[in-house]
């Protein structure tokens, strides 16, 4: 009781009129090992009002982003009846993974401008297209890319993915498929009231391969010749072994 009083007093003494967001993630490390079929992250936390009261009507938006990579996107077109790659466009920062969850549909929470600034939605991802291209083509390519990633399960939007209890506690579940890229993922949580972001907090999740999977990837990338020879030995010995085995049966 006393501790709670001190906490509330401290918040008052800091003179903050804005709410404070205390976020947490169920796991800060996702281990990709044999049998990995994807995982589900639980992002939860509390919104502390400086007045200590509830019922202010907050909305919460959670954005989880994977490491970005530069890519070239090619578009197929029909050429003399055959579908071939025609135009292409480069994007300098394409998140390998992007998920946004919110307590209500985004357009009911904030206006488009704010949504674009904070990347509240797959259509607002800042992909940094490069090269001189007219905006229409650029838009077409960006939409194509987002659609492709969405169907691979790597980009997702969940407009009812955050549940808020008593205007204090929130929680969101975000799933990752097995084909995620390894690296540092950043989770940003935003508290929004009356169309304005009043508090935000950031935390990180490390997705990495461990054990045999790390060893295999590392060997393939750094010791190509040895890796290739081991693959050859594996396949020759399995072929030979099976031949011997079945000859005896």
């Amino acid at each position: 009781m006393r501790a709670l009083f001190l906490l509330i007093a401290a918040l008052f003494l800091m003179g903050q009129r804005d709410a404070v967001l205390v976020p947490e993630i169920s796991q800060h490390e996702v281990k990709v090992r044999q049998g990995f079929t994807g995982t589900e992250l639980l992002l939860f936390g509390a919104i502390l009002d400086p007045g200590g009261g509830a019922g202010q009507g907050y909305d919460i938006v959670v954005v989880l982003k994977g490491p970005s990579e530069p890519i070239r996107l090619r578009e197929k077109e029909r050429f003399a009846g055959v579908w071939v790659n025609a135009e292409s466009s480069d994007f300098r920062s394409v998140p390998s993974y992007f998920a946004v969850a919110s307590s209500r549909p985004i357009d009911e929470i904030v206006d488009q401008k704010t949504a674009a600034i904070y990347e509240f939605g797959t259509r607002y991802i800042q992909l940094s297209p490069s090269g001189s291209f007219n905006p229409e083509d650029q838009m077409r390519f960006a939409l194509g890319l987002v659609d492709l990633k969405r169907r691979q399960g790597l980009y997702k939007e969940d407009m009812a993915g955050v549940s808020i209890t008593e205007d204090v506690l929130y929680q969101a579940r975000i799933s990752m498929p097995s084909n995620v890229t390894t690296g540092t993922y950043v989770a940003e949580t935003f508290a929004i009231s009356q169309g304005r972001v009043i508090a935000s907090a950031q935390s990180e999740v490390e997705v990495r391969k461990v054990g045999l999977e790390l060893f295999v990837e590392d060997s393939a990338n750094n010791h190509g010749l040895l890796y290739g020879l081991v693959a050859v030995i594996l396949s020759v010995s399995m072929g030979w072994g099976a031949g011997r085995l079945f000859a005896r049966l």
Partner: protein, 301 residues
């Protein structure tokens, strides 16, 4: 049974992959082909990235051809001299193939090239085989009577060697060139090349039929070894876990296939193989002309 593939970067149902390996294994035991022409498209269809599919399929073919080579070697069905000349050409071809692969990838047409190659090669060879086996089954033509010894162009090449196993006295340049072509295809398509090697040996080089399958398997064995190493050094796309799964299926499937092969009629087998080859070619042909599922493809920079 979920298995995570560390190079392909995704999780697959292990039993499906083993089953796929078994299917191609039965084919390779039945027909003396590596089965890569079936593995690669099916893996891509399953969702494995095309480069990983092609690279890993060629490693799998290595394993599938080992027991075949041993079996044929025991009954003197391998012309090692001819095989080595072809392997020499094949290694050079694999090098060319790697260059072509990178070139077509740079201009963004690698998937179109691979598709077109499949349609052309599988289509023409499938038709040839189908025609021949239908003729044999109907008995309209004597199989041996019309066969030429070897193509006139082959006879014109200089610098002749004796190939005792094949019963030939021809220039080694001819089999070396055949090897180069097969090596290029192996690298580009992830196939062992048996389906093109066997007809080339019979109709272009005119080798005696009893060493054709063994020597073809011998060549496939070494060319796929070279291809695996080449992929490991350049594309780094060989997924050893995927290879192991495919092999479990294919090495056991191959044994069953070869048991069936002893009892079945060869011309019926050829007709069945022709039908399978044509079916895949036709599916690939549709893929070229129908609107693809994915208009956009991502290439890492």
């Amino acid at each position: 049974m979920d298995v995570y593939l560390p190079i392909a970067n995704l999780s697959v149902n292990g039993l499906w992959i083993v089953g796929l390996g078994a299917l191609t294994g039965v084919l390779s035991g039945l027909f003396g082909v590596g089965g890569g022409f079936l593995t690669t498209p099916l893996l891509i269809f399953y969702g494995i990235p095309p480069t990983v599919a092609a690279a890993s399929a060629s490693t799998q073919v290595t394993g599938a051809s080992v027991s075949g080579v041993l079996a044929h070697g025991r009954r003197k069905g391998v012309d090692y001299r001819m095989g080595l000349v072809m392997v020499g050409g094949g290694v050079i071809g694999a090098g060319f193939g790697a260059l072509l692969f990178n070139f077509f990838r740079a201009i963004g047409q690698i998937d179109v090239v691979i598709n077109a190659l499949y349609v052309l090669l599988l289509g023409s060879i499938g038709l040839l085989m189908a025609k021949e086996s239908v003729q044999v089954i109907r008995g309209t033509t004597g199989t041996q009577a019309k066969r030429r010894r070897h193509h006139p162009l082959v006879a014109n090449l200089p610098w002749r060697w004796r190939f005792y196993g094949s019963g030939l006295y021809i220039s080694p340049l001819a089999p070396a060139l055949v090897g180069v072509v097969v090596g290029i295809l192996t690298m580009l398509m992830g196939v062992g090349g048996g389906f093109i090697l066997v007809p080339a040996m019979l109709y272009i080089l005119g080798m005696s039929a009893n060493v054709v399958v063994g020597t073809s398997l011998f060549n496939i064995l070494f060319v796929t070894i070279a291809t695996t190493v080449m992929h490991s050094l350049t594309t780094r796309a060989v997924d050893i876990v995927l290879v192991a799964l495919l092999l479990i299926g294919s090495v056991s499937g191959a044994q069953f296939g070869s048991k069936i092969a002893v009892t079945a009629k060869p011309e019926v087998l050829r007709l069945v193989l022709a039908a399978i080859v044509l079916l895949i070619a036709f599916r690939m042909l549709l893929g070229l002309f129908y609107e693809p599922d994915e208009i956009y493809t991502v290439y890492p920079l």
